[in-house]
């Protein structure tokens, strides 16, 4: 067991990223994730790394593109409005098969929205962070420990699958302090023979590029990439089940709202309602397999989110609408109270006779 330290989620992410071998960080100030940049600006000069405060989110993500092409482990972080600006670069990274880690500490939207925690970027993160057919692994931590663990994993997965990997957190997880055990300093990294490091007269030139002027070539490239996505959908689904085995009301919630939903599930059990919580840890690939496995015993599903109802679509698809799938959420930066979620569970239990 390593030492446990008390840290903010944003700082734990930064500290863990460094331990994962991240030596390049590009960011632009935005609430509520600025602690990441503050931490990186302190540590990077001391370990021979680079902290660069970019002129914009757009520049920062394109720096991530360049650092990824050059073979480095690099990351950028932002919050919702800034992530929208990064859409361009994320699409280019997907198109050029370049690794990189992007942290979104979500706040209320749309537009300038609010600075309080939200989960309103679920669709953006899981459907289309940029233009064109593309996918990105999306991790949804729900503790400070998971902020550290999942960013650590994100660097490995980005290199393994040659794609941008997103950590979708929110202002609550970013700002709160919890004890965390940081992972060990990584010393071994994968070879990157494709990187634009300068060919040193030893190989033909490497090119990082997303342009294919012939449509059939682009289609073939996309089919090849989608075969990889299919593999990820098979092998990279992650989730946590809590009291799900005999659950008739399966609550589905991720990130901060899963913490609240968990309390509500415990209270529901105390009232004799067979409730359980299925918490997706990967939002893409969505944990379809474990959700589908609940269909035989479940009577209804309740998706609890800090938005107007986004993940609920994925829950419906995962269970093929075999049972009623309902939504409960607060949005705009409002965090639901456990009692509200409990009421929603009780109402649903009554409706379906659970």
């Amino acid at each position: 067991m390593g030492e446990k330290v008390l840290m903010k989620g944003n700082e734990a992410v930064a500290a863990s990223a460094v331990r994962a071998g991240c030596r390049y960080y590009f960011g632009y100030p935005i609430t509520p994730q600025t602690e990441v940049a503050a931490y990186m600006s302190k540590i990077m000069p001391k370990i021979g790394g680079t902290f660069l405060q970019a002129e914009s989110e757009i520049a920062a993500i394109n720096m991530l593109y360049g650092a990824g092409a050059a073979g480095a482990r690099a990351m950028t972080s932002s919050s919702s409005p800034g992530i929208s600006l990064k859409g361009e670069g994320i699409s280019y990274m997907a198109g050029a098969d370049l690794p990189g880690v992007i942290l979104n500490v979500e706040r209320g939207g749309p537009g300038l929205g609010s600075i309080q925690p939200s989960q309103q970027d679920y669709w953006q993160a899981t459907r289309a962070m940029g233009h064109g057919d593309s996918r990105h692994i999306v991790y949804a931590p729900n503790t400070v420990q998971e902020m550290a663990d999942l960013v650590y994993l994100a660097f490995d997965k980005a290199d393994e699958y040659l794609m941008p990997v997103v950590l979708l957190a929110d202002g609550l997880l970013g700002q709160m302090m919890e004890p965390v055990e940081l992972p060990p300093e990584k010393t071994e990294f994968p070879e990157k023979p494709w990187a634009t490091t300068g060919h040193h007269n030893k190989r033909p030139h490497n090119v990082a590029n997303s342009l294919y002027l012939q449509a059939d070539k682009l289609e073939a490239k996309l089919r090849e990439r989608y075969a990889r996505y299919e593999q990820i959908e098979k092998t990279e689904q992650r989730s946590e089940a809590f009291m799900v085995d005999d659950a008739e009301i399966v609550v589905v919630a991720f990130g901060a709202s899963a913490r609240i939903a968990r309390s509500a599930v415990v209270s529901a059990r105390a009232q004799g309602i067979k409730a359980g919580l299925l918490r997706p840890i990967t939002l893409w690939p969505f944990p379809n397999d474990v959700l589908e496995a609940t269909v035989p015993q479940a009577k209804a599903y309740l998706s609890v989110e800090m938005n107007m109802g986004q993940m609920v679509d994925d829950v419906r698809m995962a269970v093929h609408d075999a049972h009623p799938v309902r939504f409960y959420g607060r949005t705009g930066g409002v965090i639901p109270a456990p009692g509200e979620v409990l009421d929603a569970i009780a109402k649903l239990a009554q409706e379906v006779g659970a």
Partner: protein, 276 residues
């Protein structure tokens, strides 16, 4: 004399791949590519050079240069090049950008890479038009210049004035060397070649940000023959965008941008204090 070994006096630079370029007949992009290739060959740096291609006519430059290449999003080449250089500071990193890419959509990246003093070289091809998309008004299109999106001529009352990039950048402390050249005559081509080599050399010597602006033509979208377009460029572009060295900190007597910047702000106490 018949048994004398043939002597090669002219050939494709090794750092330009033996592929057919897609540029229009009479387009100077090919000349500029060649000058970069010659500089890379002469300096023996192909293996340690990484180029960043733009969006625009030179978008496929990644297929032409034999060094490692990256295709950047429109205007973002300086940001991409910044990171590439930070990851491998010993490599020579250059971007190749047109006027729309560099001075319109990528102006923020251009200015900030310059003011950060990124030790990169920007090759800026200014032909006052968006070529690849079919001839729209560029940030450097001249007043009254007719383009697809200024069909009555650029109206400065609604479209404003063109940007003179070298003049805009020269006051930034991060800039080590700026020169505006053209490639319309053999002597101008030789001058352009020297400028590009000098920029790469300054980068090798870690002096700071360097940019070479090449004033060029676009006969296709200007609607002229290549020779007419050269005449039009000499008559209209060169007086508006005068050729010459806009900044050379070495000629000013400084080792690098930091020495020059410090001297310029020597009366500012916080600038003169030792770094922590």
């Amino acid at each position: 004399m018949a048994d004398k070994e043939p002597r090669i006096v002219f050939q494709r630079p090794k750092s330009l791949l033996p592929v057919q370029m897609h540029y229009c007949p009479g387009c100077p992009h090919g000349i500029v590519h060649r000058l970069i290739g010659e500089a890379i060959d002469k300096m023996g740096i192909e293996g340690t050079t990484v180029g960043v291609a733009p969006v625009g006519c030179a978008v496929m430059a990644y297929d032409y240069f034999a060094c490692d290449m990256i295709e950047a999003a429109h205007g973002r080449a300086p940001a991409v090049a910044t990171a590439v250089k930070r990851v491998h500071p010993e490599n020579i990193v250059f971007s190749y950008q047109g006027d729309g890419d560099l001075a319109s959509i990528g102006m923020a990246e251009t200015v900030h890479a310059a003011t950060r003093g990124e030790n990169i070289t920007v090759i800026f091809y200014n032909n006052a038009i968006y070529g690849m998309t079919g001839g729209q008004m560029a940030p450097t299109s001249l007043p009254h210049q007719v383009t697809q999106t200024s069909p009555y001529g650029r109206d400065v009352h609604t479209a404003g004035y063109p940007i003179r990039v070298c003049e805009l950048l020269k006051d930034l402390d991060g800039v080590a060397y700026l020169e505006r050249v053209t490639v319309d005559t053999p002597s101008h081509v030789r001058k352009a070649k020297r400028a590009i080599q000098k920029a790469f050399t300054y980068q090798q010597e870690k002096r700071g940000y360097t940019l070479i602006e090449i004033v060029g033509t676009c006969s296709t979208n200007w609607g002229m023959t290549p020779l007419e377009s050269m005449d039009w460029m000499r008559e209209n572009m060169l007086p508006y965008y005068p050729l010459g060295v806009y900044k050379d900190i070495v000629a000013e007597g400084y080792e690098n941008i930091h020495e020059a910047a410090k001297d310029r702000a020597k009366n500012v106490p916080i600038v003169m204090q030792e770094a922590n």
